[in-house]
């Protein structure tokens, strides 16, 4: 099994209180050093709540945001320079808000042409043929090409966004909350389309979402993010069914499921990013927390088989 994507201690920090001269007053980590492997043809789901750093991670992976530290390897080649064009041929991005990701003053054709011309130097008949092929793949009618983005519904616009990402012929697609702006009845259409495209174009997916059920339904493996760190990874069928990290357990219990009684909800909030705790970021909300948890940051380690957790006191299966 070859790796499609590998990150080594990839991190992003922002300076707070910039001064004209001298170092900034403080640094805030949006993503703490993250090391992930994604195999060829795999779908890795990334879940986490707002502020956990999942979007920042995604933007680093496509080169839209230069990492503060760490490395990105795509199919064995290191990409350290944040140049979206260099990334573009290997890895593409599907945005959360399908309408705002399309320039309102361009026709769909102009939008589709950009990656083909800029990244692959296509012109003329080949360009036309390729656009027709891509549109067919995402089940859109060719007459849509001469319309403007505002004429489309969210689901159609998201198909256009996917077609544009595919136009770059990437090896990997980063899907950043691709269905959360869509209605549930349309959501399933887009998810199924993505599953078909993955097979057809031999793609690798990074699927980012806050919706646990959606992530579970589409992923082979899942990584759970909390406060900028990966706290648990494992096969999709195991992570929520038998969570090892107490935070994953909290997430799984919080998801509304028909027939399960309300409650079991505990209070507690994210730590202050300006003043992060010295140990485990979840310790303040964790029923299993010990003195060790408050002093030392747990490393991500194998708990059983291919299930990993960053916890001093992991749960039993």
């Amino acid at each position: 099994m070859s790796l499609a994507l590998k990150t080594t201690d990839l991190a992003k920090s922002f300076d707070i209180g910039k001064r004209l001269f001298g170092p900034p007053r403080a640094q805030v980590y949006a993503v703490r050093p993250v090391s992930l492997d994604v195999a060829q043809g795999e779908t890795l789901g990334i879940v986490g709540e707002s502020g956990c750093g999942k979007s920042t991670l995604a933007r680093m992976l496509v080169g839209l945001s230069p990492p503060s530290a760490g490395e990105i390897e795509i199919e064995g080649r290191a990409l350290d320079r944040a140049d979206p064009a260099a990334f573009g041929r290997l890895i593409q991005y599907v945005f959360q808000d399908p309408v705002s990701s399309l320039n309102p003053r361009k026709t769909i054709r102009q939008i589709m042409e950009a990656p083909l011309r800029q990244l692959h130097g296509m012109r003329g008949a080949a360009l036309e043929a390729r656009i027709a092929e891509l549109f067919d793949a995402v089940n859109l009618r060719p007459e849509f090409l001469d319309r403007y983005p505002h004429e489309f519904s969210g689901g159609q616009a998201q198909r256009i966004g996917i077609a544009r990402a595919l136009a770059a012929s990437p090896r990997i697609l980063i899907l950043d909350e691709p269905v959360s702006a869509l209605d549930v009845s349309v959501q399933a259409q887009v998810l199924n389309l993505l599953a078909d495209l993955k097979v057809e174009f031999n793609l690798t997916y990074l699927f980012i979402s806050h919706d646990l059920a959606v992530v579970e339904a589409v992923s082979d493996r899942i990584a759970v993010l909390y406060f900028g760190s990966v706290v648990e990874t494992g096969p999709a069928e195991k992570v929520f069914a038998a969570p090892r990290h107490p935070y994953t357990k909290l997430l799984a219990d919080s998801a509304p499921v028909v027939g399960r009684p309300l409650g079991g909800a505990q209070s507690g909030e994210l730590p202050d990013p300006l003043n992060p705790p010295p140990g485990c970021a979840f310790a303040g909300r964790c029923p299993r927390a010990s003195a060790l948890c408050r002093a030392e940051v747990p490393r991500l380690r194998a708990i059983e088989g291919d299930q990993f957790a960053a916890c001093h006191h992991p749960r039993d299966a």
Binding site: S50, R59, G63, L64, P84, A85, G88, Y93, F95, S100, S101, L102, N103, P104, R105, A114, P115, Q118, L119, S153, R164, A168, D183, V184, S185, V186, Q187, A188, Q189, L191, A195, H210, A213, V214, E216, A217, V218, S219, D220, A236, F240, A241, L250, L251, A252, D253, S254, A255, P256, V257, V258, G259, P261, L262, G263, G264, A265, S267, E269, L270
Partner: protein, 627 residues
């Protein structure tokens, strides 16, 4: 373009401005061809001739020069200078603003510091200083006016550019391999052009005024050449003896600037998409009601909604957002109203207390009865006294629904005091108690916090506390947890459920999430295309949905704990409520639809389980028969 022109001329004031301006511009262009006296030919014998004098339609000035001729030549000059100044300032300002806004960082910082520096001068000081350096003269005045206005344009355009540079389509362009120059030209600039046009069209009038002003001071056009400003300046000394020499150029300036402003406003309105959709209209205190007849009361619940019709009337289009909706809510009951966006669930909820934004919303039929009292069409003061006291709302996004500039304590005490004029101290005490009731730690201290200082979950707790302020009988919760994270959502739902039990609240809970309905609600009503398609006890509806839409909607939502799988998608799109099909709105997407489904009115039938379908699901039919 055609749309733009038709919009522009629908605006009568703008059309008037356009016509006046067109006449003035045509006159100014034709001036050299018109049979006029030479503008600078003096004839001191004929000084200060009154208007309508022989051969001088508008009279003569202090040197006996023909005023009409000087007026038209002056207009030519003033118009040209004003337009040129606006063009220069607009283009230069836009270029600076786009660069600073797009590149951000240091470029932005340095540029904007410089701009701020220039804006620290009252503009005339800078203009005077520039004229002082360059010397008096019309061209110099033009340069001064243009330069002085660059900072305003630059600032304005920079702000807009920053907004666009952070939009996702710019990121998409970068990922498509486009360089900065190409992105600026093909992605940013086309989106900036309307803003620049608006800014220029609304400031040309101002530029004309300013150049006229400099000329008036004697710093612009130099004699014998005259623009409108210097004509006024020269005439000022004879203001009392020969007022017409002042009035003629003054009125001309007024006409030009006014027509330019009217046209400019028209252009702005026509280019602003929000005005087009009527989105900038101010919502009134209560939704407009325009109903012909009041339906008879059906149930005898605490709150009954009978055949409610709420529409959005935008231009000639009518969106039937809520279409013959009937619901009843009993004391202490939690009723879930579920549907996708555009299904009309929120509009139904807001219609109850007349909170649908109006314009464009209009309640065109039906009744909403609170213990038998009809609220639709009730006088505003009655409605107001019930709002928050008997029926309270909890809204979706707690950041935008709390007032950003008031402390949460003040917002809570206000909610108490509008219905119960107790002392501030008493209200404060009750407010702290409310915050404690919704489990906000440190309640007394949090009273002084502003909404932005709280987390999303805490803000929604404040929203709930505010709804509880007057011990209402009914709470209408409009997607109260949709904007929250899943762990916070679980906390808020548990809190709501507990409050409901302890206080005997009736809750109308609007959501799009079956999981939430399943955990919280006793009964559920499913909406599609503005209508209720199915209602019944939650457990029964979820276990054996009767309407094909309900069944397929439940099926296409993944549920946690079932692992990787293929989802059962519903093909097609939800209907647009301004062009609903005949018959069942779901028929075009339904695999069971037959000819009968596509015509006529399909009724909501049944007793405790009601369904609006000619061919309800078999599982449901089978269950019904077993009972």
């Amino acid at each position: 373009m055609k749309l733009f022109l038709s919009l522009l001329f629908r605006n009568r004031l703008a059309a008037f401005g356009a016509v006046v301006l067109a006449i003035i511009v045509i006159l100014a262009v034709l001036t050299p061809l018109l049979p006029l006296h030479p503008p600078n030919a003096t004839n001191t014998a004929n000084r200060y001739l009154r208007p309508l004098a022989d051969g001088h339609l508008l009279g003569t000035d202090h040197l006996g020069r023909d005023l009409l001729s000087r007026l038209l030549w002056g207009t030519r000059l003033s118009l040209a200078v004003g337009f040129a100044a606006a063009l220069i300032a607009g283009l230069a300002g836009a270029a600076i603003g786009v660069m600073a806004g797009y590149f951000g960082g240091r470029t932005d910082n340095v540029t904007m510091r410089g701009i701020d520096m220039l804006m620290a001068f009252p503009y005339i000081l800078l203009a005077l200083a520039i004229v002082a350096v360059l010397g008096p003269g019309l061209l110099n005045a033009l340069i001064a006016v243009a330069v002085v206005n660059i900072p305003f344009f630059a600032r304005n355009i920079r702000g807009v550019t920053v907004g666009i540079a952070h939009r996702e389509f710019i990121d998409a362009a970068r990922l498509a391999g486009m360089g900065h120059a190409r992105i600026l030209l093909t992605e940013v600039v086309p989106n900036i052009v309307p803003v620049v046009v608006i800014a220029m069209s609304t400031t040309i009038g101002w530029m004309i005024l300013e150049t006229a002003g400099l000329s008036f001071l004697g710093l612009g056009s130099q004699p014998p050449q005259a623009d409108l400003g210097s004509m006024l300046g020269e005439a000022r000394s004879a203001l009392i003896t020969a007022p017409h020499t002042s009035i003629v150029p003054g009125v001309m300036i007024l006409l030009i600037v006014m027509s330019v402003n009217l046209l400019g406003d028209g252009i702005r309105d026509a280019l602003d998409p929000r005005l087009r959709s009527g989105a900038l209209a101010r919502p009134m205190a209560a939704t407009r009601v325009d109903r012909r007849d009041v339906p008879p009361a059906q149930g005898d619940g605490l709150l009954t909604i009978d055949a409610l019709d709420t529409q959005f009337q935008i231009g000639k289009r009518i969106y039937k957002a809520v279409n013959q909706v009937s619901l009843d809510l009993r004391p202490g009951e939690c009723l879930g109203l579920i549907g996708e966006s555009g299904s009309g669930k929120s509009v139904t909820a807001l219609s109850v207390m007349g909170l649908v934004a109006s314009p464009p919303g209009v309640i065109t039929g039906g009744a909403v009865r609170l213990e038998g009292q009809d609220l639709i069409g009730a006088p505003y003061e009655v409605l107001r006294s019930l709002r928050g006291r008997r029926v309270a709302y909890i809204f979706q996004d707690p950041l935008s629904t709390l007032h950003p500039l008031y402390r949460i304590g003040d917002q809570l005490t206000e909610a108490i005091r509008v219905h119960d004029p107790v002392s501030h101290a008493e209200a404060h005490k009750r407010a702290v108690k409310l915050l404690e009731d919704v489990r906000i730690p440190n309640a007394a201290a949090r009273m002084c916090a502003y909404p932005h200082e709280l987390s999303g979950g805490m803000r929604q707790r404040v929203g709930i506390a505010m709804a509880l302020a007057n011990d209402p009988d009914i709470i209408i919760a409009d997607e109260p947890t949709t904007a929250l994270d899943v762990t916070v959502q679980a906390q808020i739902l548990a809190l709501l459920d507990e409050l409901r039990q302890s206080r005997g609240l009736a809750i109308l809970f609007i959501t799009h999430d079956f999981g939430v309905v399943g955990q919280l609600c006793d009964r559920v009503a499913v909406m599609y295309g503005g209508r209720i398609v199915e209602t019944g006890p939650t457990a029964e509806v979820l276990a054996a949905p009767a309407h094909p839409y309900t069944r397929r909607l439940i099926a296409c939502v993944p549920e946690l704990g079932q692992g990787q799988r293929v989802l059962a998608a519903i093909p097609g799109l939800p209907p647009a409520v301004d062009q609903l099909p005949d018959g069942c709105a779901f028929a075009p997407r339904c695999e069971k639809a037959r000819a009968a489904c596509k015509s006529g009115e399909i009724a909501l039938t049944g007793a405790t389980r009601k369904v609006r379908c000619l061919y309800p699901e078999e599982a449901h039919v089978a269950r019904a028969e077993n009972h």
